[in-house]
C-alpha cells in the first residue's frame, strides 16, 4: 500500500520484468538505485524489439518503406519528448547521447562562438554550484581553461540547500552562463529556478539547467522554467541508455556553431567548406541512436499515461516515509535536506563510521541495491566532510515495503560492524 490515493505501485511493478527477479539464490530484488538508472517497463523493451524486428533502417535518407517508417518513428519520438517537457517547438529538441553530451555541446558552443553568439574569453565568468554532478563541472572547467574565463560557484548550506545569499555577487555583469542542477543526484535537493533566472536576466547571462534528476520524477515545463538550456537523459526515465536530450531556445540553437561534424548535420558539402542543416539536425551528426530515441518516446508515453503529478506525489510520500524511518536507525546521519520539502527521492546518508562500501556490500547480500561512493559529485562529499555516502533512490515502482527492507538491512549492517 502507498500513501497516495489511486496510485498503485504494486500494479506498476508488474510493468517492469526485472523487478520480479530474485538475486543471491532467491532473495527478492529491492532496487533502490534509481538515481543511477531506472528500470525499463515492458512497453519500452517491446518497442525496441519491434523497431529492430519490423522497421530498422537509417533515418532521413533512403526512399523505401523501412527508411520512411524509421524516420517517422524517430521524428515522432522528438514530438513526444517536446510535448513531455513543454517545448514550444519540436525543433528545439536535440537528441544527444546523454546529459553529459548535451552539456558539452553547450559548453563547446559558448567557447567557440559564432555570429550572434559571442565566444567566451578572459574576463568572462561561468557560474556552477558545489552540488553539481561531475558532468556539469568538468565541461565548464575545461571551457574555462581553454578560454581564460573564470569559473565561480554557489556553495551549499549545512542543510544541503543551494546557498544563494551571494547570488548578486556570484552572478554579475561578467557572468555569461549559469549552469546548475535542478535536482541534486546526491543530496536530493530540488533547487529554485526563478530567483536565479531573474538575476541572470538582469546581467544578460544564459541559464542551463541540468534536469537529469528532475525530468524523470516530476512535471517539467521548459517554458515555465524560463531557462535557456535544459539537459536530461533517457535511461533515468524508463528509457534506454545512449539517448539524451538538450532542449534549447530556438534562436540560441540557430546562432550556435555545430558541435560534432559529420553526416546528417549538413546542408551542402564541397571540398573547401560546408553549410549546415537546420536545427535540430545541425547538432545530430552521424547516424543517431534511432532505436534508443524511439524507446525514449515509448517511455515518455508510459510516464505520461501514469501522470507525472501522480509520480511526484508518490515519491514525495515515499520520501517522507523513508526520512522518518531512516531517522530511527541508530547512528544514521542524513546528508541533505531532512524533510521532504523541495527534495526528491534520492537520500544519501552515513551510517556511523561504517564505510559506505561495506554498507552497500552487506545490503546487496540481502538483495538490496543501493549506490555507494561519491556519486560523481565529489565536491559535495568534500563539502560535507565525507569520502563517500550510501544513497537510496526511489522511483514510481518503489514501495514502502522496500523502504522497510532497507531499514531492516541497515540494522543488520550496524550489528555486523558494531
Amino acid at each position: 500500500m502507498t500513501a497516495v490515493t489511486g496510485f498503485d505501485a504494486e500494479a506498476i511493478r508488474k510493468d517492469f520484468p526485472v523487478l520480479a527477479r530474485t538475486v543471491h539464490d532467491g532473495l527478492p530484488l529491492v532496487y533502490l538505485d534509481n538515481a543511477a538508472t531506472s528500470q525499463k517497463p515492458s512497453v519500452v523493451i517491446d518497442t525496441l524489439r519491434e523497431y529492430y524486428e519490423q522497421h530498422n533502417a537509417n533515418v532521413h535518407r533512403g526512399i523505401h518503406v523501412l527508411a520512411e517508417e524509421a524516420t517517422a518513428l524517430y521524428e515522432g519520438a522528438r514530438d513526444k519528448v517536446a510535448a513531455f517537457v513543454g517545448a514550444p517547438s519540436r525543433d528545439e529538441i536535440v537528441f544527444t547521447k546523454n546529459s553529459s553530451e548535451a552539456i558539452n555541446l553547450v559548453a563547446y558552443a559558448i567557447g567557440t562562438g559564432s555570429a550572434g553568439f559571442p565566444a567566451l574569453g578572459p574576463g568572462d565568468e561561468v557560474v556552477i554550484s558545489e552540488m553539481e554532478h561531475h558532468s556539469n563541472i568538468v565541461p565548464w572547467q575545461l571551457l574555462c581553461q581553454r578560454t581564460g574565463a573564470t569559473l565561480r560557484w554557489f556553495r551549499i548550506t549545512d542543510e544541503g540547500r543551494l546557498d544563494l545569499s551571494d547570488l548578486d555577487t556570484v552572478v554579475n555583469e561578467r557572468t555569461r552562463i549559469v549552469a546548475y542542477v535542478h535536482q541534486s543526484n546526491i543530496l536530493g535537493t530540488l533547487n529554485p529556478v526563478s530567483p536565479i533566472v531573474e538575476r541572470a536576466r538582469q546581467v544578460g547571462a544564459l541559464v542551463l539547467l541540468d534536469a537529469s534528476q528532475s525530468v524523470p520524477h516530476q512535471p517539467v515545463d521548459v517554458t515555465e522554467l524560463g531557462v535557456d538550456f535544459v539537459a536530461f537523459t533517457g535511461h533515468k526515465m524508463c528509457g534506454p541508455t545512449g539517448i539524451g536530450v538538450l532542449w534549447a531556445r530556438r534562436d540560441l540553437l540557430e546562432a550556435m556553431p555545430p558541435f560534432l561534424g559529420g553526416g546528417e548535420m549538413i546542408e551542402t558539402v564541397t571540398m573547401e567548406s560546408s553549410t549546415f542543416a537546420a536545427v535540430p539536425h545541425k547538432f545530430e551528426a552521424g547516424t543517431p541512436p534511432i532505436a534508443q530515441a524511439i524507446g525514449l518516446g515509448a517511455a515518455v508515453d508510459y510516464l505520461s499515461a501514469i501522470g507525472m503529478d501522480a509520480i511526484k506525489a508518490h515519491e514525495k510520500a515515499l520520501t517522507a516515509y523513508a526520512l522518518d524511518a531512516l531517522d530511527e536507525v541508530p547512528g544514521l546521519r542524513i546528508i541533505g535536506p531532512r524533510t521532504a520539502v523541495s527534495r526528491g527521492g534520492a537520500i544519501s546518508f552515513a551510517l556511523g563510521s561504517i564505510h559506505p562500501h561495506d554498507v552497500g556490500q552487506l545490503l546487496d547480500e540481502q538483495g538490496i541495491a543501493v549506490r555507494v561512493g561519491h556519486h560523481c559529485a565529489r565536491p559535495t562529499c568534500l563539502r560535507f566532510g565525507v569520502p563517500a555516502t550510501t544513497r537510496a533512490s526511489f522511483y514510481l515502482y518503489t514501495t514502502e515495503a522496500e523502504v522497510d527492507a532497507l531499514v531492516r538491512g541497515l540494522h543488520h549492517v550496524a550489528k555486523f560492524f558494531g
Binding site: P356, H357, D358, E365, G373, P387
Partner: protein, 148 residues
C-alpha cells in the same frame, strides 16, 4: 555471503590496524585513490640496505582497503625488497583469481583472508589499493637509491 568477504581476520585488521600512521624517515611517499569510490591511501617506504625498514600509511576507506593496508604493513616491513616484491606478486595473483586459487599462508600470512574478496570484482580494487601504492612507492625509493 558476508562471511566469505568479511573474514574475521579482515575485520580484526580493520578494527585494530597495524602500523597505521605516517612515520619519518622515509624515502618515498605516494598517494593513491580509487576514483570510483573515493578510498584513499598515503603510503611511505623507508629503505635501508635493500631492506624495507618501515612501511607506514594512512588512509580512509572501506574495511577491505584499510585492512589490506594493515596486512601489507605487517607482512612486508623488515623484508628485503626483492622478497617483498614476490609477496606483492602473490597477493596480486590471488586478487585476480576470482576465487579459484588456494592461497599459500606461508607466503601471504593474514593476506590469505582476502581470497574471498577475489570473488567480488568490484572490491578487488579496494584490496589492491595499498599494494599498488606500495609498488609505486618502492619503485620510486629504489630509483632514488640508485641515483644517489
Amino acid at each position: 555471503m558476508a562471511t566469505d568477504l568479511y573474514q574475521e581476520i579482515i575485520l580484526d585488521h580493520y578494527k585494530h590496524p597495524q602500523g597505521r600512521g605516517l612515520r619519518e624517515p622515509f624515502d618515498a611517499e605516494v598517494h593513491h585513490v580509487n576514483p570510483t569510490c573515493g578510498d584513499e591511501v598515503t603510503l611511505r617506504v623507508s629503505l635501508k640496505d635493500g631492506v624495507l625498514a618501515d612501511v607506514s600509511y594512512d588512509g580512509q576507506g572501506c574495511s577491505i582497503s584499510q585492512a589490506s593496508a594493515s596486512v601489507l604493513h605487517e607482512l612486508l616491513t623488515g623484508r628485503p625488497v626483492a622478497e617483498a616484491m614476490s609477496v606483492l606478486d602473490s597477493f596480486t595473483e590471488l586478487m585476480g583469481s576470482r576465487g579459484q586459487l588456494e592461497p599459500d599462508e606461508d607466503v601471504l600470512g593474514d593476506g590469505i583472508a582476502f581470497a574471498g574478496v577475489s570473488k567480488y570484482p568490484a572490491r578487488v580494487k579496494c584490496a589492491l589499493l595499498a599494494w599498488m601504492a606500495f609498488k609505486d612507492a618502492t619503485a620510486q625509493a629504489v630509483e632514488q637509491g640508485s641515483d644517489a
